[in-house]
Symmetry: C2
């Protein structure tokens, strides 16, 4: 396909979005080309604003427009929930009764990707532990998330603070028949008495 | 999900792209938020350029940066291929030996969408027929495309110009077992002698 210059450039730019290939990018480009000028101006302005106005909360590392995010500014709690990315906070906030503070690591320890403990916001976490009763480690239940949780746990436990890990097991509404082996094994291991 | 203002606005803007819902838009927004400033500037610039520089060829209605598109400016042919949209030209140009001129209708006759013959570039087509030997009608093989082809054919045929319609039948590499009834019926009807 030979697109004219400006279209080709927009398509190339759009393929940088996650899992957008040539064909999807071309669909988007045509849609932008055919949309109202007002819509396009809005899109451009929204992209610019997100890059200009959104930065990290200086306390917890969440996305915010201000110096400190809304949760850090308004919530009182002695529990800090440690997550990998700001978007994890949005997911956890859907749980209504989770009135906790958060701390974003900005990733997980992953030697293959050259990410070590010093690349994460662990020092900042340790500096926040004054007056904290419990640290919930809510990194993803995969190898890197597990290793990162273990690493942080070993740093914090000696300080006499309760350290917990989110439970792993069968997800609600799932079917045992199709559960993978390691999830099943974990669900048996962590069985609770009724 | 409660996103902060700028993110929410970008997500809303991105959902206007074809078949992009909330979740995909959020993925794109996060990707834009985390991408290099250079990439984002490039994207903004590409969107702006496409809207500013791309317009319709004054002869055929194809997309172009100039007054007249490359095909109209350089190609000599006495055959005009009539298509619905500029992107159809790109598809047809993949056929190497199609050295024809094009004419973009800008849609098809569709009473349900309040599109009548006067909303299409049919007048412009009639004005181009001087010195043309054949008009190939390459609108889509659906109800509207068919009706539009019939309508145009009835206008042009009396002028003594050959009017043809792209062939319909089984697509290459398809399986008769799974072909739909109307395609099969058309393939039987338009059978050719060997």
């Amino acid at each position: 396909m030979k697109y004219i210059e400006p279209l080709a450039r927009l398509i190339a730019s759009l393929t940088k979005l996650p899992s957008v290939g040539q064909k999807t990018a071309a669909r988007y480009a045509y849609s932008i080309l055919n949309s109202d000028k007002a819509d396009t101006d809005e899109l451009i302005e929204a992209i610019r604003e997100v890059k200009e106005k959104v930065h990290f909360c200086s306390v917890c590392g969440n996305y915010t427009e201000n110096e400190i995010c809304d949760i850090c500014a308004t919530r009182k709690s002695s529990v800090i929930c440690v997550v990998q990315e700001p978007k994890d906070i949005l997911a956890l906030e859907k749980v209504k009764d989770a009135e906790v503070l958060y701390h974003v690591l900005g990733g997980v320890i992953s030697p293959l990707d050259h990410v070590g403990p010093n690349d994460l916001r662990i020092k900042e976490l340790l500096a926040r532990l004054n007056g904290i009763d419990e640290v919930i480690l809510a990194t993803n239940p995969d190898v890197e998330g597990e290793a990162t949780a273990m690493y942080i746990s070993r740093l914090i436990k000696p300080m006499g603070i309760k350290v917990t890990r989110i439970a792993r097991g069968l997800p609600e509404g799932s079917v045992i028949e199709f559960a993978d082996e390691s999830t099943l094994s974990r669900a048996l291991l962590s069985r609770t008495e009724l």
